[in-house]
Subunit: 534 residues, 2 copies
């Protein structure tokens, strides 16, 4: 039995394009005499289609395309995911087709409704019908994504016995996810006593990235095949042979970097841009963002803008220019002094009348916002998307200016803690220097007032990130975090800042989920709430 795992790149909502992609893959599978061709979950609509599913015209087109795909099937058994109406109920389904005929439909039984998932907003769960179907003399087991994770469900299926068990997925990346998937499919293969096929798509979709990682476990739970992560590919495996084809799982930093590159590329390009612009401060966040943009879009498509102020140190400008040279990108310099002083002058009389002339965070924000306006002007004038450069540690504690450095269409590092920003720069610099060494070595600073350092108002990033992870990802209480060895005052202050900054995050651009708990749809907190965390 020759099986093809189609690790493809569907686009959300692109029903015609996805149908075309499916039909082309079917023709290729015929040419290669595959017995079975397996696509990801909801390949016809892309994942997640969200409220598009609630538009009647959307489902009309889905239904037509499902029929078209079925009609195009030939010798190879084709299994593909699409939504379908079962009476009034919308289901998340796997269609099995062959010789131009529909053989069976299986409906997803476990609908995830946690984290980034909202499937129960749209779908009604299946009843287990056609969990095992017989086609061309083979008994094929079927599951869709979340189904795989529920022991009580697969135990039932295992008893029915099958020759191969297929799992159609739309499983978003977070670091370490591939290992989790494979340890589970290995367990299931042993449970079923048959090979398990796991097919996952590739591509960035708003806040999430599908990293592929399609694979096949044999009946003993041994890996026979693993597709390359982060690239679209068709992989064939012959169950009667013992040939293995196992691409490596990238190391942690490489995984994260590839996810950031793919997520950025797809967000920018799928939203109709080819080029981007970003501010270069000489700091590490903008340097890493620029490097990722160059990798994703090509150096000719990245414009760096230096926006020095009177508080910018000489090394900031030099570091930014060194980066520009290392990356080979175009850059311009737009000093902000004139704009800042005009804005401040306009406000001066009013502030004086109020007796509030003393500089405070207002004046810091004016600088950040003048930069935001200038960058957006470049974006508007050229059609380049503005990338914003803040990291997760900053997003968490609100160490960022709304409409200032938070301005932009996409926040590349939104889910990357500062310590991982450093680690990613070290990873990038392994082969040759991409990020200027001084950018990595100097103490982080927003440079919004003389001699300002991040460490003036925040703990060391090592401590900050550990406290943040404990609170955000592990949901520990203040007492529990203190018990891990952190100072109570510091923990309280950080937890308080995370709460306070919810209103800023609500207006932040989307960014790529790379951790188990990203800001955005993955973490839904009220802005207005009075819960005392301590």
């Amino acid at each position: 039995m020759k099986i093809r795992l189609e690790q493809c790149m569907p686009r959300v909502g692109d029903i015609n394009g996805n149908t075309h992609l499916i039909c082309q893959a079917m023709q290729a599978a015929e040419r290669h005499h595959c017995d079975l061709l397996v696509f990801p979950e909801l390949v016809l609509t892309g994942y997640p289609p969200e409220d598009l599913l609630l538009r009647p015209i959307f489902m009309d087109e889905v239904e037509k395309s499902v029929q078209h795909v079925i009609g195009q099937s030939k010798q190879s058994i084709v299994v593909f995911g699409a939504p379908r109406f079962d009476g009034d109920c919308l289901k998340n389904s796997a269609f099995v087709a062959c010789h131009g005929q529909l053989v069976a439909v299986y409906d997803k039984q476990r609908l995830p409704n946690y984290g980034v998932f909202d499937e129960q907003r749209y779908f009604v769960k299946g009843n287990g019908e056609n969990a095992v179907v017989e086609v061309n003399g083979w008994r094929i087991g079927l599951g869709i994504c979340e189904d795989l994770w529920h022991d009580e469900l697969v135990s039932k299926q295992a008893k029915q016995g099958c020759d191969v068990w297929l799992n159609l997925n739309a499983s978003p990346f977070h670091e370490g996810k591939q290992q989790q998937r494979e340890s589970l499919t290995a367990k299931r293969a042993k449970q079923f006593g048959c090979p398990v096929v796991y097919v996952n798509p590739v591509g960035g979709q708003d806040e999430i990235v599908f990293d592929g990682g399609s694979h096949l476990m044999d009946a003993s739970g041994e890996l026979l095949l693993r597709a390359s992560l982060f690239v679209p590919t068709s992989c064939d495996v012959d169950l009667t042979s013992v040939d293995c084809c196992i691409h490596d799982i990238p190391q942690r930093m490489q995984q994260i970097y590839q996810a950031l590159v793919l997520g950025t590329k797809d967000y920018v390009q799928r939203n109709g841009s080819t080029q981007v612009v970003l501010g270069l401060s000489g700091g590490i966040d903008s340097a890493l963002t620029a490097a990722i943009a160059v990798h994703a879009l090509g150096k000719e498509n990245v414009l760096g803008v230096l926006l020095p102020s009177s508080f910018s140190s000489d090394h900031s400008i030099k570091d930014a220019l060194d980066l520009v040279e290392n990356l080979g990108i175009e850059s311009i310099t737009l000093p902000i002094a004139e704009s800042v002083s005009a804005l401040e002058h306009t406000l001066a009389e009013t502030f004086k009348t109020w007796g509030k002339e003393k500089a405070d965070v207002t004046e810091e924000n004016i600088q950040a916002r003048a930069r935001g306006v200038l960058l957006m002007a470049i974006s508007n004038k050229t059609g380049r998307m503005l990338l914003t450069t803040g990291n997760k540690s900053e997003m968490a504690v609100g160490y960022a200016t709304l409409y200032g450095d938070m301005a932009g269409g996409f926040a590349v590092l939104k889910d990357v803690y500062k310590m991982d920003v450093f680690a990613l720069c070290h990873y990038l610099n392994q082969a040759q220097q991409v990020i200027p060494q001084n950018t990595i070595d100097k103490p982080p600073s927003a440079e919004l007032r003389p001699d300002q350092k991040d460490s003036d108002s925040l703990p060391d990033y090592e401590v900050l990130d550990a406290i943040l992870k404990a609170s955000i990802e592990d949901r520990l209480s203040v007492a529990e975090i203190v018990a891990l060895g952190y100072a109570e005052d510091e923990v309280k202050r950080i937890v308080h800042l995370v709460n306070l900054a919810e209103y800023k995050r609500r207006q932040a651009p989307p960014g790529i989920k790379i951790t188990e708990k990203a800001f955005g749809r993955d973490r839904r907190y009220p802005i207005t709430h009075a819960f005392r965390m301590f």
Copy 2:
């Protein structure tokens, strides 16, 4: 049997405060010799607590407070809503307590997971146990919010027979909602053959407003009691008497206005501000927003800022100053010319090098963003929250500048179509002129270039709003909207603009839901998608 409907104002996350509020109401009910005291759904946590529910420390405190409330119960039977763990499963429950003892717990059986609701993200549904409980010789039926709407569920309950049926709610306002509620409770009362008590809270919570509207239907489906909408109140009703106390349902414009006032007041105050600032353009949106802010917070707490440019007409300044006088608020004037020309000067050399000196949307956005920076500077310097003034029609088609006029903590009119902005101004001006007549009469304009009018680039608002409602609220296809009598080109253009502007809306501040389908959590579209709506 004397029943008290406690239409209170819990705050999300304020477990101690809500517990105190519940206990005080219990003491009052004792003093008034009430037999039964009914609170809203999840009164102990406020609604919706969102991902706070996933924090162990949050549920620990909830559990302690539930026990405390039960312990405080005396003669009056108390029914209140709170989440609870049933083993590992979180349930949305109604607790029945009396004489310091827990009598019964009922778990919500139908968990809404559509629109603004995400209950299946948190809760497991109940199995119907204790849907009718016997206390002090009365048979009391129980339901929580969505339960009421499901015929198959209540039919089962109706057969068990009860003396009174209680529905605990957290039902957000949209226009016309109260009539929907009452027609349903009337139906249920007849089905059950017993009085139905509907208790709903009051208050603004991020994007939603709870409007109260608690009421009681007798066994024949006649309304015996209706609490005032939009105000916290305790209402007593004696089932053995025939006295009615029925507060009017406000007219449509009054309903919407009250929702906007309450939503604004609670958002601003519950997030720690007492004062607001907003830009006054002389136009109708900012005028209405200012009037609402004055009603919500008091005229002494509203600061209007005039930000004239060289494109501002004389009447704009006069209209804004007339409004300031009508409302009796403080105002300042910050001309933007100096800031705009500094920003443009900084960019001039670059634009010239690129051969892009010709003014386009870039220069319009610079004006809007200079205003945004100045307003945020006032906000930062004074601690006033900045209100943004755009309406739903603009939000829909993206006729607004990100980080410019979209900047602000709260978007009061975000869900109010432009035609309703006009209607609200007429409503406000009934008794005396609040909104200057010229502000209402003149053609709407963003005044970002000479002689600009909204009608240059958009259809008349009557047509625009009708197309938008058909597409957004009724989810009609382009063909279906054209069939209603609108020009195909215009419909296509509008539908396209709504799609394009999703990225802007994702960075918009929250605003008050007043329609059946508000932007925000109520409507979840991908930013990145390729579905062709036509």
